[in-house]
């Protein structure tokens, strides 16, 4: 190990970095267009596979990790290993759908339920509020009651989830 610090002496002209930036933009375009085709495995590759490639390119060429000393790699890899320990330790419990001494009460909302819960009603409420301030209080009373109901449902779902 040396006692004095070394600076990166691998310098590149701006053209080199612009070229990497262009490649990153092409990858970004692919990651946006890929999932539009609607094939699940293609979405996984284009969205997440390409995200890994993009992140790798930024780390290697912009952060200069490709020419950095090994100790920086050790530091970063150690934390990634910790993440893996965290995931493998917790995931079997969190992702388990059933057990011997407990049952999951969580109700998985359907697409339609998600739409109703978060959908147009709120947008409509906001619209009413903007348009007619005089009747705002009355609307609020009506809406509050309505929201309270949906919020209760939501709390139920959450508490079940926590229990699960």
């Amino acid at each position: 190990m040396s006692e004095t610090a070394e600076h990166h002496d691998d310098h590149h002209p701006p053209k080199y970095y612009v070229k990497i930036w262009v490649i990153l933009l092409v990858l970004l375009t692919v990651s946006i267009v890929g999932p539009m085709i609607g094939i699940k495995w293609l979405t996984l590759i284009t969205a997440f596979g390409i995200a890994l490639v993009k992140a790798g390119m930024v780390c290697a060429y912009f952060m200069h990790l490709n020419i950095e000393r090994k100790v920086a790699w050790y530091i970063l890899c150690a934390t990634l290993l910790l993440l893996l320990v965290f995931f493998t330790g917790v995931a079997p419990d969190v992702m388990k759908p059933s057990g011997t001494n407990w049952q999951s009460l969580y109700h998985e909302p359907t697409e339609e339920e998600s739409m109703v819960h978060h959908g147009d009603e709120h947008a409509e409420d906001a619209h009413h509020g903007d348009e007619d301030t005089h009747h705002g209080d009355e609307d609020a009373k009506h809406d509050d009651g309505h929201d309270e109901h949906s919020e209760d449902e939501h709390h139920d779902a959450d508490s079940h989830d926590e229990g699960h």
Binding site: S2, E3, T4, A5, E6, H7, H8, H11, P14, Y17, V18, I20, W21, L24, L25, L28, S31, I32, P35, T43, F48, A51, K54, A55, V58, C59, F62, M63, E68, R69, V71, A72, I75, L76, T79, L80, L82, L83, F86, F87, V90, A91, V94, M95, P97, E108, T110, E111, E113, S114, M115, H117, H118, H122, A123, D125, A126, H154, D158, D161
Partner: protein
């Protein structure tokens, strides 16, 4: 009383300049923070199909624009570093300010997104998905703002030709912020 440069500034047992080594340690801690969040998200996302329905309400165009903005700002900051290495201070300051401007655009787009989502009822307390969305993007946005502030401070020194090595240090941090977004983008905006 005269100021003495701390011995740790000039000495390095690893061969990496102390300031750069320090930023690697900071990023290691950031990996655990953001990585932990992303791991939690993955566990829930893989287990609960309904999270896909929730994610359908995020704005992929805004997310895509922000990815473009961050990638471009990363280019600017690496060019600022190269200019600083060549002792071209004016050029370096100019690129640093382009990067700060990129961060500003990013935050403006994020503010637009938050406003649209909140006014349509998608608040932080709507569901666990939205809690995660606001926590992850909010924490990331905080890092963007911190980076912008530090870059502004560094640009003042660079203008005077002082502490040019700091451009590389803030650059490494900024690229990391970019990398975090590269992962958040498909998780929150693309996977429906």
């Amino acid at each position: 009383m005269s100021f003495q440069v701390p011995i740790a500034t000039n000495r390095s047992a690893t061969g990496i300049p102390t300031s750069r080594l320090a930023v690697w340690w900071i990023l290691a801690s950031e990996v655990v923070i953001f990585g932990g969040l992303i791991m939690c998200y993955l566990m829930f996302r893989l287990h609960h199909e309904s999270w896909g329905f929730e994610a359908a309400h995020t704005n992929p165009i805004a997310g895509g624009v922000n990815t473009f903005v961050l990638l471009t700002s990363s280019l600017f900051v690496v060019l600022a570093h190269e200019a600083a290495e060549a002792k071209e201070t004016d050029k370096s300051v100019r690129y640093i300010w382009f990067t700060i401007f990129g961060g500003f655009i990013f935050m403006m787009v994020k503010a637009y997104e938050y406003t649209t989502e909140i006014t349509h009822g998608y608040t932080m307390f709507k569901s666990v998905f939205w809690s995660f969305y606001y926590t992850a993007t909010g924490l990331h946005g905080f890092h963007v703002m911190a980076g912008m502030f530090i870059m502004w401070m560094i640009s003042r020194d660079v203008k005077k030709g002082k502490n040019l090595h700091r451009v590389e240090i803030i650059g490494i941090y900024w690229h990391f912020v970019d990398v975090v977004w590269i992962f958040l983008f498909p998780l929150l905006y693309i996977a429906k």
